[in-house]
């Protein structure tokens, strides 16, 4: 891990990215030899940090840190999909391509969220920070036309199980990891560190 001072950080000044800290670490190449000691290749170490814009979805990720789940809705009276609520949040309606209205569905989620499908896996890729086994769940909500993907942190998932969102409000990462789910009725004392109902 990089030290706190070395972590690459970015801010925006006058519409341009300003970077500070280490964004890549250089390691030497090392040779690869076969069983007979003959050269057959080389390692190419890379340690890089990408800079990524959330654009019109920034409000979704920022709201998670405030304990709110924001969705978007098509309000175009001329669109076949008028009144459709999208979660995952879509900046534009996929049918009329007009900008959707941002709406708060935290209460809908608390009252109606239910597991549509799930999977439990011991496997993960490099850079995973979720505790294993990972319990992926897909969550359906009343009046929402799509199905949200997330992870369950308390209990065992089942199709049809009622769940409620919890939010990483104390140490937000400003990523999708800031929202998780627990079975309805889970007391605050059982929530993972940093999360609130």
């Amino acid at each position: 891990m990089k030290s706190e001072n070395d972590i690459g950080r970015v801010s925006v000044k006058n519409g341009r990215y300003k970077i500070k800290g280490k964004f890549h670490i250089i390691e030497p190449n090392t040779p690869i030899f076969d069983d007979n000691g003959k050269l057959c290749g080389i390692t190419n170490p890379r340690d890089m940090t990408y800079i990524h814009s959330y654009g019109g979805e920034a409000i979704f990720f920022e709201s998670l840190s405030k304990g709110k789940l924001m969705a978007s809705r098509c309000d175009n009276p001329k669109c076949d999909s008028k009144d459709s609520i999208f979660m995952p949040f879509r900046i534009y309606c996929p049918d009329c391509l007009r900008k959707n209205t941002v709406i708060d569905i935290t209460d809908i989620a608390k009252k109606t969220a239910m597991i549509h499908s799930f999977i439990i896996t011991e496997r993960s890729g490099a850079f995973n920070t979720l505790k294993k086994p990972i319990k992926f769940i897909n969550v359906e909500f009343e009046d929402v036309c799509t199905i949200f993907m997330g992870y369950l942190t308390v209990g065992e998932p089942k199709i049809g199980m009622r769940v409620v969102p919890i939010f990483q409000t104390k140490k937000p990462t400003y990523t999708i990891m800031d929202i998780s789910w627990v079975p309805i009725g889970t007391p605050e004392s059982e929530l993972p560190e940093g999360f609130t109902l």
Binding site: I119, T121, R123, S124, F136, C145, G150, I176
Partner: protein, 473 residues
């Protein structure tokens, strides 16, 4: 979109007949520490030339444009890898382009080559695909594959693509499989079948003689999927030479007609809205009115249990070629068996069985070379090369390998390609003592499905012997 206009449902039309003149493949493996990618691509192109008794230099004289499928630049740390291969094949200064559509990259590459010839732009085009998945540690490879999911909404969740896919498997398993032991056994039968066929294929690296119990007792990847339910991670290359009629008959006296349809659906399964099921030519209106009653929870389409992209690709391809009932009109198929359960899902999407009844394609014995119940030829054998589970999944090459394999059946040269002792030795593999000729006797028409991840891109390729077309051009 969840409603489609007539213009969008128009059956694609090619301006002139298009032919597959020849195909070729490299050996496939989990890793080739002593081979560069260009060596594998040259091996595939040389095989394609050998197949029609030409030298690579002679065959290259016909190629006018080149289409390269290579999904994951970041695995090889080489952008514009297509330009490297194009140069190493000695095809500069011909026009060339790279194609990337995840697991469907091979099929999509063929789609581009076919359109180039159909339009008249080129009389002869190369479709070549490869993948190099052995040059990073497996966990970093898993992370790189997970980058094919939505980077903000999915990838941070475990950096493991299998997890994003397996929720679909779970839903199908519970709703349509009813979580029954008998359904689990049928899934395992697919792994036994495809790994068994892989043993007869010198190009394959996943052939195994296993039992249903071996599959059911293999380690869990993401329940209900176990290690032996899942496809391979592979390295290798495959290619096809696509021509107009005149050029095809200059190259060979036995070219095959080829057509292709393509479909798509949302990258995130989460975004899939409920819609009416688009019907294939062998399905009557009303067929699915009671689907939700027969399978409670199964009334949301495509939901988490079906692949709209595969259905739309099949809709285009069947209507282009006159296929009405694939089980009647086709002789052999190659499906994208990334997982045993997705193979079953595909049976429904491409119309081998109605939605909800996919398992019957295996349970009836239709999908086997030799029906295990009757001892007679299977009605519509699938994945006789071993498929992605038993042969390989070198992503950019997979769809092109499938097309080559169907071609070998229709050319009636399957045994020649797969049975040659010298080839087994050249690839460092031992030909099994019980090696079996899996040639589908009298095969005239076939289908391949090339499919990306959770179903974001799918192509359906149809090959036919020119004397056995189903409809006039």
């Amino acid at each position: 979109m969840i409603k489609f206009s007539d213009k969008q449902l128009k059956i694609p039309k090619m301006a002139r007949p298009v032919y597959l003149a020849t195909s070729g493949m490299s050996r496939f493996g989990r890793a080739f520490p002593t081979l560069r990618t260009e060596e594998l691509c040259i091996e595939a192109l040389t095989e394609a030339a050998d197949f029609i008794k030409m030298t690579p230099a002679e065959l290259k004289q016909y190629i006018h444009t080149a289409y390269y499928g290579h999904f994951a630049d970041h695995f090889g740390d080489q952008l514009l890898g297509e330009a490297v291969i194009h140069d190493r094949l000695g095809l500069d200064p011909l026009g060339t382009i790279g194609v990337k559509t995840g697991g469907a990259t091979g099929g999509s590459t063929m789609w581009e080559a076919i359109k180039a010839v159909a339009s008249g732009y080129s009389d002869c085009a190369l479709a070549m695909g490869w993948e190099r998945m052995d040059e990073v540690p497996t966990d970093e490879g898993n992370h790189l594959i997970s980058c094919a999911a939505d980077k903000d909404w999915e990838t941070p969740l475990g950096h493991i693509y299998t997890g994003y896919y397996a929720v679909m498997a779970q839903r199908y398993w519970q709703i349509f499989g009813k979580a029954e032991d008998s359904f689990r056994k049928t899934m395992a039968e697919i792994a036994v079948k495809n790994r068994g066929y892989g043993r007869m294929n010198p190009y394959a690296h996943g052939g195994m003689k296993i039992t249903v119990e071996d599959v059911i007792n293999s380690p869990v990847v993401a329940y209900p999927l176990r290690v032996l339910d899942c496809c391979l991670m592979s390295v290798g290359a495959a290619c096809g030479i696509i021509c107009d009629e005149k050029t095809a008959y200059e190259l060979t006296d036995n070219p095959l007609r080829i057509w292709i349809g393509a479909g798509s659906h949302t990258l995130r399964v989460a975004d899939r809205r409920d819609m009416k099921i688009p019907l294939l030519p062998n399905e009557e209106p009303g067929l699915y009115d009671d689907l939700g009653k027969r399978f409670p929870g199964g009334d949301r389409y495509p939901g988490f249990s079906s692949f709209l992209a595969a259905r739309i690709a099949s809709y285009y391809a069947y209507n282009m070629t006159g296929v009405v009932d694939p089980c009647e009109d086709l002789d052999v198929i190659e499906l994208h068996d990334a997982f045993t359960i997705s193979d079953i899902q595909s049976y429904e999407d491409v119309g081998l069985r109605p939605y909800g009844e996919g398992r019957d394609y295996i349970e009836s014995g239709d999908g086997y070379h030799t029906n295990p119940k009757t001892g007679k030829p299977g009605r519509l054998p699938s994945n006789l090369c071993g498929g992605l589970i038993g042969c390989m999944h070198a992503v950019g090459a997979t769809g092109l390998m499938q097309i080559a394999e169907i071609g070998y059946h229709i050319w009636n040269r399957w045994a020649e390609i797969h049975g040659d002792e010298k080839k087994w030795k050249k690839f460092g593999r031992e030909k099994p003592k019980d090696w079996t000729d899996l040639q589908v006797k009298g095969a005239k028409r076939g289908l391949t499905i090339s499919h990306a991840g959770v179903g974001s891109h799918v192509t359906a390729t149809i090959l036919m012997h020119p004397n056995h077309l189903l409809k006039e051009d």
